[in-house]
Amino acid sequence: MNATPVLRVRDLVVEYEVHRSTSVRVPAVRGVSFDVHAGEVVALVGESGSGKSTTAHAVVGLLPAGGRVVGGSVRLHEGELVGLPSKAWRQVRGARIGLVPQDPGIALNPVTRVGDQVAEVLRIHGRVRRADAARQAVEILRSVGLSDPEARARQYPHELSGGMRQRVLIGIALALEPALVIADEPTSALDVTVQRRVLDLLDDVTTRAGSAVLFITHDLAVAADRADRVVVMKDGEIVEQGPTAQVLGSPTHAYTRSLLAAAPQLTVTTPRAPVPDIGPAPLLEVLSVSKAFRLPGHAGRTVQAVDDVSLSIPRGGAFGLVGESGSGKSTVARLVLQLTAPDSGTVLLDGAPVSDPAGRSVLRRRSQLVHQNPFASLDPRFTVAKIVDEPLRSHRVGSRAQRRDRVVELLEQVALGAAYADRRPGELSGGQRQRVAIARALALEPDLLVLDEPTSALDVSVQAQILALLDRLRRERGLTYLFISHDLAVVRQVVDRVGVLHDGRLVEVGPTADVFDHPQDPYTAELVGAIPGGRAELTPELLERSTR
């Protein structure tokens, strides 16, 4: 590895202007150094705010407004990129450095045909004629595995699925076989099965083109699967870097260890202590509910969101409902809570149907929902105390003073404490907000908590804390959980039984361990197989990759 690296970053410092009218600047990247060698995949791993994305954008010279490289050096082969005039930059971007952006849903121009967008990169760099560029664009689309590329080239982005769009973007990034490809969280917006196929494609085409890859991800498991070397960032600095097996196998830095411990996929699944008092009597029964939605704009056409789903959760149990986007899992949650009425089927809480008025008021008191996004579920104008107090006030529980005491007690249960009572949501972090939302959900001492992706908006280390909190609360208070998630690995940590939803149908139900270790349904098997980090458990392969 003594050859000149493809990318050599030394002491890179990037600052952001706080506000245009002042000269206050804060560093986002503070003295970062790393190399990417030919044929290598280097993963830049960190949580939000770690500076990983800023580093990547500095390398390709596309820092957002207000961002500036104030120190250090970025060399591509022998050429210095820092301070390059914009005309010279344009010859680097697209030709020598390709970028695979984060969210394929919005990274293509919505009003331009896909083929033209691929051809644009050829037209910018080569002096190709329009017709030749169009023909080459079709070949590029074929090479990234799109079926019927001639037709695809004439389509617009909204006519392609998320996975297909990301293939198009990979095609654009690799069209001119650049020396370096920067992949910025390329699959975090995609479903897990699609994610796997797209990452396989990226592996494949970068190998073919001989491009080195700088892979930005928050997901340690994805890094473990895909990278030769891992660079771990925190607060704008590198805390640890080295071959993947070494960094993940025997991390030297405490932060890396905490990240590893928090990453659900990589956690060695120690059998959790069984929850003691799961009774035999079902608390929640869902009996063959179905729900169809009308497709907007297509008169009479409907989509079957939930199709004959039945499940039962005993008092004190925790049931995980897993599925990809569009599988109908959130609709099931809304049906259970009577936020949507089912077309057919019934929901029973403690044996009584929740659809009639009496059952409904019981439902409102004895079940609560924790929303996916704690940034949206708290009224920005309320104080924390007022938010947690709202259910108590609405149900006229106790006097004002008693409610005040109860709010403090609830805040302590979620490990926030009375000091937070007078803050507003805007002053809290995502994890703190989700704790407030959980405290609110616990206020009326419900039996059933419906958790709708409660950690998907949070960083991994925060996610681990919230999952631990939920597990503790369940044990202490005998709560029953319906846990909705797209993330199998998260579900695995919390629940006793799992149901897998696919296109509105429950394709498999069983005890957590059985479903994960011996999936019966082919879709479940694909889902389980696609969990990133799966390859990381096979240490020999990992070692082989990292020493290659």
Binding site: V92, I97, P110, V111
Partner: protein, 315 residues
């Protein structure tokens, strides 16, 4: 697609009918006595001859129940008969037809100037990387929307007709006579166009597809032209109906300032004389212009935005 066109057409007719109804409600049903207003306007301070009141009431149908008046007027309006002017006795439709070409010329030129000027300000401010130039350009639109139209017109008259006698101060003769009125009318609209477009262009510049284009090696100019402008202009297109409606209303003031014949002069005189049929005619034509422009935009939109064209019903 035919269904889509028919639905849009139906909606347009409905809006037109409703505008007629609203203007009827305002002009005929508000607690005022149209006959005495008309008589008073025709002969201020004069004594009212009861026979004349009866005669006028009968001629305009004010002695009938409101619903009956409404049905009669609507029935006539459908056939293009908007009644007769109280002051001149000429058919309202004839008066409108005579005035319309002048106003059409004025507003079309003004619209062209406004789109060109506003579009240039917006595109330049979003394309440039010089914060100073951007700041200077973006300081213009707030000025433009803050100045009273009549004041702009008078300033331009002072400067370019009296100080520097380049353009005629009044009248409709020749191309030169349309320049100052059109510029006057265009300035507030160009400011609005610049504000709306600049905002949506800034949004477009922040969109990830711009980063994708820059990462291909595209220059800022190419990104502005190929990616930003089209994406930003499409949503702004839906404001065209309101913009043209406002031009028509602005023409009332501008034509008065420049003493031009046209719609503005007609309505200004009609309001002064409280010539109800003429005022109603102008209001209905104003709504008609709005409806037609919106209809054209609606029908053209699917051809311009691929996201709509494939699913016409969601528009």
């Amino acid at each position: 697609m035919t269904g889509y066109v028919l639905r849009r057409l139906g909606a347009a007719v409905l809006v037109l009918w409703a505008a007629f109804t609203v203007s009827f409600a305002v002009l005929y049903l508000l607690p005022s006595d149209p006959v005495s207003i008309m008589l008073d306007a025709a002969n201020p301070g004069g004594t009212v001859d009861p026979a004349q009141v009866v005669e006028l009431s009968a001629r305009y149908g004010f002695d009938r129940p409101p619903l009956e008046q409404y049905v009669v007027l609507l029935g006539r309006a459908v056939t293009g008969d908007l009644g007769v002017s109280v002051t001149s006795g000429a058919p309202v439709s004839q008066l409108l037809a005579d005035a319309f070409p002048q106003t059409l010329a004025l507003t079309s030129v003004a619209l062209g100037i406004a789109l060109l000027l506003g579009g240039t300000i917006a595109a330049t401010s979003s394309w440039t990387r010089s914060t100073r130039l951007r700041g200077a350009l973006l300081a213009l639109p707030p000025l433009g929307v803050s100045m009273p139209t009549f004041w702009i017109g008078l300033l331009l008259l002072q400067l370019f007709s009296f100080r520097l006698p380049i353009f005629p101060a009044v009248g409709n003769q020749g191309v030169a006579s349309i320049v100052l009125p059109a510029v006057t009318l265009a300035i507030p609209l160009s400011a609005v166009v610049a504000q709306v477009l600049a905002r949506s262009m800034r949004t477009a510049w922040d969109a990830p597809y711009v980063e994708t284009a820059l990462a291909k090696g595209a220059s800022r100019g190419r990104v502005q032209w190929r990616h930003v402008t089209r994406n930003a202009a499409l949503p702004a297109l839906t404001l065209l109906g309101i913009a043209v409606g406002n031009l028509l209303a602005g023409a009332v003031v501008v034509e008065t300032v420049f003493s031009r014949a046209g719609f503005g002069g007609l309505v200004e005189k009609a309001v002064r004389a409280q010539d109800i049929p003429v005022v109603q005619g102008v209001v209905v034509v104003g709504a008609l212009v709005f409806v037609v422009v919106n209809l054209v935009v609606d029908l053209a939109y699917p051809a311009l935005d691929p996201r709509i064209s494939r699913t016409p019903a969601t528009a």
